[in-house]
Amino acid sequence: MKSQESIAITIKGVQKHFGQVHALRGIDLEIRRGEFFGLLGPNGAGKSTLINTIAGLTRADVGQISVMGYDVAKQYRMARRCIGIVPQELVYDSFFNVREMLRLQAGYFGCGHENHNWIEELLDVLMLHDKADTNVKALSGGMKRRVLVAMALVHKPDVVVLDEPTAGVDVELRQSLWEFIKRLHNEGHTIVLTTHYLEEAESLCDRIAILGEGKIIALDSKQGLLDRGVNHVQLVTLTTEDPIQDIPAQLSKNIKQHNGSELVLQLNQKTDNIIDLLDAVRNTGAIIKTIKTSEADLEDVFMEITNNGRLT
């Protein structure tokens, strides 16, 4: 019972198909109350599908989900009252202005006039007050996103889920959005955030799950993931005078691509030494013409995690 009470979202064995696409392949996850949880993964990994299933926007084929102890299917009214969703798409209703949209949304959740002060407060903190009477259609992308954040909060949910909230938002607005979300977290809200930016999750989240092709491929505290070297992956692209024939065994775990005289190496700055790797290449007799390094994207990080068998 005690442990139940400390869990905000429980996901058990959830699977979801869209026709032939197996979007979620058995997800098990517990998100604790008061946690700032990051859900990462490349496009198409299934992040939005998972969120939509939690929100009741889609139904899982198999498995169970509960929010604050309420089953999202059987006790959907309570479950939905406990959660606020900021969707990935910038949707709005062009028939209404900002304040009308917020009041309608609150009304659907059963809130009446007593809630109007809260709506004004939301308009204030999200700096939407001077746009309150403006049709949402006329607002910029960043402002639309704020309206969606406000809409997710009209019923004062315990759990707030944001699906790629920074996509299409300019830097300044992004910063203030983060400040606001941190504030919500400090006030005791459970926050779930999806993103495909690693740094974003790194700077905010306590715990991170990495989703790939509908499965959780890593789940750890931020520190745990950092210790795995997730943020130290770098790509080194070499071109040589002549095609390299035999790759030394020492390099085999670092090879990402080998294409005649072009070689892409993936290295972990913590455990691999670039000089050693270059020496290994030179020892084959190859003459290196150019070297280019680049930051790994999340997909390389996944490769790193999965290839090196550090998954548990």
């Binding site: 139904r59 009214r77 949707v91 209703d93 949304q105 809409m151």
Partner: protein, 253 residues
């Protein structure tokens, strides 16, 4: 019951057409009046359907009901397809609204739109011709039940349709022909036998015939029978709409 949630969704659906009332109420009223002017002028010398009822008077209940049918259907179906298309349907899928509350809100708003347009046609046509009133009860029953039926049909079509084209197709190939071929402009007794028989399979015919009875006390079939047919039709469409909403078909997938 989330009464307030239902009421908010109902109000939102009302506001949605009220904000564009020129298009959603005034335009259909004018269309109906144009039909009235044209047909009554062209045909009044030739047809007397019921004894002591002028053709113009005969025409009005049918035109009202046709407007009710088309506008109730348009209200729920276009609202749903627009919400699906823009994606803002999720605003009403996220809150704790049951399928029943969802259904009732859309259906009731469709009734209000249908009744508003119908009342508009009725009041303006009173400038042109005196209409008797035989039974207020029948008038309300047929008016409200017909718009509820078409509101339900609109919910089904709005959920089913993936594109505006699908909906336009439904409107042009189902709603329009059935409403035109339902005895708006004539008594089915003036039709060849085969068309008379066919008309008896058209549910809109019973809506119009029963509605007409409430004015003149005369009709092609027994109004109680018409009322039963309309009730049955409403029951079938309402339960289908609710069943679809409950299943989550297309909306929660």
């Amino acid at each position: 019951m989330n009464i307030r949630g239902f009421y908010t969704l109902f109000c939102k659906e009302l506001l949605r057409f009220y904000k564009v009332a020129v298009q959603t109420i005034l335009a259909p009223v004018i269309t109906a009046l144009l039909y009235l002017l044209v047909f009554s002028h062209v045909l009044k010398e030739h047809i007397e359907v019921y004894p002591d009822v002028s053709y113009t008077a005969f025409l009005i209940p049918g035109l009202i009901m046709m407007a009710v049918i088309q506008n109730s259907f348009a209200n729920s179906s276009s609202s749903l397809i627009q919400s699906k298309y823009t994606g803002n349907i999720l605003f009403i899928l996220l809150p704790p609204l049951s399928y029943l509350e969802f259904y009732l809100a859309f259906m009731a708003a469709a009734v209000v739109r249908g009744v508003a347009v119908g009342t508009g046609v009725l009041l303006t046509s009173l400038f042109f011709v005196d209409l008797p009133l035989h039974s207020m009860l029948y008038l309300l029953l047929f008016g409200i039940m017909s718009s509820a039926t078409l509101g339900s049909m609109g919910i089904i079509a709005g959920i089913w349709a993936d594109k505006f084209d699908h909906l336009a197709g439904f409107q042009n190939f189902v709603i329009m022909p059935l409403s035109f071929l339902s005895g708006v402009f004539y008594s089915i007794h003036s039709l060849p036998d085969i068309w008379q028989t066919a008309s008896h399979f058209n549910p809109f015919f019973y809506m119009i015939d029963g509605f007409r009875y409430s004015f003149f006390g005369q009709s092609d079939v027994d109004p109680l029978f018409s009322l039963s047919v309309v009730s049955l039709f409403l029951l079938i469409l309402a339960s289908t709409a609710m069943w679809i909403l409950k299943s989550g078909y297309k909306l929660r997938n």
